[in-house]
Symmetry: C2
Subunit: 271 residues, 2 copies
């Protein structure tokens, strides 16, 4: 297994960065993550565009053009020769002499074998709500300290994931976007203070062909009336949500619109 770090392909177990790197010392870094299926990168342009946006938002210069990154990714995929995988591009604050000022970013590309569901999960996720707003939500930063810190709470509550809100206004989960479907088949997803997920945007595009779609704030008190709910991410694709805190969503089983969207997403990936 090879990783790529600053102009070099390196065996994964030797891939390391200086302990002075600002990502390690001060949590200052951005990344993006996309999947490969049958050896083909999925929505690579969208992920790279977001990666460049995140980097710019954090004032981290990217010493590569988009085309250069594509060529490196293609070579990494060829060297590792995995059919289905996840590829992560990380850009760090660099080895900072002052320990605080942005230095020359390190670019790190890693790949790992992954399987993605071809069938919708039989049982939906149970989410528990937690009041928190991610810092710099429009950038895909490396800041997941709250998501990881809250893992024991998830286990104690026999839940699957956290749902962040601010004063009752839902934003997202630590690693996925949030949707509800109303009883009159309107598909609604949160709009503000979230990461614009690539899969979220795909679902919006797919759904718009058949349904009314709204991007707007969603309040916790709308959940008892929702017919369906699901979360979306590159890894989870579309995961139904059956319960949020003590509220059962719809009948507590996976809804028909969720099923339809999942099938469109997974089997018509390149519509």
């Amino acid at each position: 297994l090879y990783y790529y770090i600053n102009n070099q392909f390196i065996p994964a177990d030797q891939a390391a960065v200086s302990v002075k790197d600002l990502a390690l010392q001060r949590g200052y870094g951005v990344f993006d993550f996309f999947k490969t299926i049958n050896g083909e990168a999925q929505f690579l342009d969208e992920h790279l565009n977001r990666f460049f946006n995140s980097a710019q938002h954090l004032r981290l210069p990217v010493a590569y053009s988009k085309e250069a990154l594509k060529a490196i990714i293609a070579e990494l995929m060829q060297q590792n020769n995995m059919a289905d995988s996840g590829i992560r591009i990380t850009l760090t604050g660099g080895a900072s002499e002052s320990g605080y000022a942005i230095a020359t970013p390190n670019l790190i590309i890693t790949q790992q074998a992954m399987q993605f569901n071809h069938q919708l999960a039989g049982k939906g996720f149970r989410l528990i709500t937690y009041q928190h707003q991610r810092q710099l939500p429009f950038a895909k930063t490396t800041d997941y300290i709250m998501g990881i810190w809250l893992q024991p709470l998830i286990q104690q509550q026999h839940a699957d994931e956290i749902l962040y809100h601010q004063n009752g206004w839902i934003t997202e989960t630590p690693r996925a976007n949030f949707f509800i479907v109303t009883k009159d088949q309107k598909i609604i997803t949160t709009k503000n203070n979230i990461l614009q997920g690539i899969t979220r945007n795909r679902i919006i595009n797919i759904a718009q062909n058949e349904f009314e779609v709204e991007e707007r704030d969603i309040h916790l008190n709308e959940l008892p009336d929702a017919a369906e709910s699901f979360i979306t991410s590159t890894t989870k694709q579309l995961m139904p949500v059956s319960q949020i805190d003590e509220i059962m969503i719809g009948k507590g089983t996976t809804g028909e619109i969720s099923k339809w969207l999942f099938n469109q997403l997974v089997f018509h990936v390149k519509i």
Copy 2:
């Protein structure tokens, strides 16, 4: 120059950790930072106690006793042979296979030569306020993404540092605690949702001998009435504050109580 990583003293320029480390990938880590003066570690017990507390708060096991850490630090100091320096102990989430679950932490100890002021700064800091609450404020985590991200704002405003508040209630700066002195010589420092600074606690102890000291929330609207203000940290020791946004503090010059506290702090370090 040597650093220490997991049982080994390593030349600083070779000191590296795996790119899979959760501190780099997900910003999950804690640290502490203390100074050495004339080759003596300052308030080492207090810093190590806080380090263990931060680690526990983030569920990161420390594979060393306090005494073992002290021995390692003593050996590192001997190898590097610096009189005045800063030493940082970092504990990371470790190289995580899942990229999300806490793994075996890496312990990293770094040292750098530093000089600390023996004279109070002639001109106080200008702070600018910013609404933000640090995540997990009681732990000294590696999360400084907002503090670094806000650097251009500081430069644009010709200021020296940010002062965080939440709905007008002051907490701290990204790397220091906040104090005001009232016109009737009461010394007040913020209490809630802050990092309990070691220097903050020293100042409280020193001040209590001569003045009334209060630990309580401080609102931005108290600032126009303050006689003096200062921030405290291991590196800055005691730094006077002359202006906060457009508000001049007292006469805009360094106050007598700030001077007295600085002298007590710096010249009677081991009271």
